[in-house]
Symmetry: C2
Subunit: 113 residues, 2 copies
DNA sequence: TTTGTATTTCGCAAAATAACGAAATGTTTT
DNA sequence: AAAACATTTCGTTATTTTGCGAAATACAAA
């Protein structure tokens, strides 16, 4: 049996966020919502995106599940907004990946050159 | 037939990058490689990750296809490194999403409150 | 040339994702 | 209460993803 290392929490978390962002419809939604002070209705979104209402609903559900957006009932509509707290956390998670300081310490044990 | 809007290139691009990053093994690899000046062997990586060699190879292939890493033959090994050019582009793409200025212009036509 | 080492590709099975239309839910208006 | 509207859930189908072990490939050493 292979050792089976586990993923560290930050690795899993970032992968999960990336997964939520891994579809053009969902990126479109995030882009749109993040650029607006206020929020957006599913019925408006469906006109701008090449999927039907039920598929759009699924995408919204996924984004909600990932914590990146939140929906509030505003009869007779449902209003979707960026979840700013988690949005900022997601931003930091990516920054942490991309801005990580380059260290050569591990290179000794694992790398060539 | 519904109008079928297309995705703008930047939306598709970002979704594709996110997709390449949507698995913990691939995040692990990117994290590791990005923190090292030099590179890493598949054979070293396989010890740190809970998948077999063939699955790891697939993940590396996906990251390579997405342009985030590159492999160079260094007999008898293959050495993987971050593709710094595309890595920086990916970083900018995320920054562009997360740092987008909030504008209320569209809000008038699409939003409540 | 044969053997050994490192890695990838192939063939397959299981699971997850994506999309659709129909039906269901919940709310408001008539 | 019934009709209308916005949205979600359900049931289904097609496609993609993930992972494995076995086989193939590529190269170096013996």
């Amino acid at each position: 049996m292979r050792p089976k290392p586990e993923y560290s929490p930050d690795v899993s978390e970032l992968a999960q966020i990336a997964k939520a962002m891994s579809h053009p419809v969902r990126i479109y939604i995030l882009k749109k919502l993040s650029q607006m002070q206020s929020c957006c209705y599913s019925g408006d979104l469906v006109l701008e995106v090449p999927v039907g209402r039920s598929a759009l609903s699924q995408h919204l559900k996924e984004l909600k599940f990932a914590g990146l957006i939140q929906g509030e009932i505003e009869p007779p509509y449902i209003k979707y907004c960026i979840n700013r707290d988690n949005w900022n956390k997601a931003q930091k998670a990516f920054e942490n990946l991309f801005d990580a300081p380059v260290t050569d310490l591990n290179a000794i044990s694992c790398c060539s050159i």
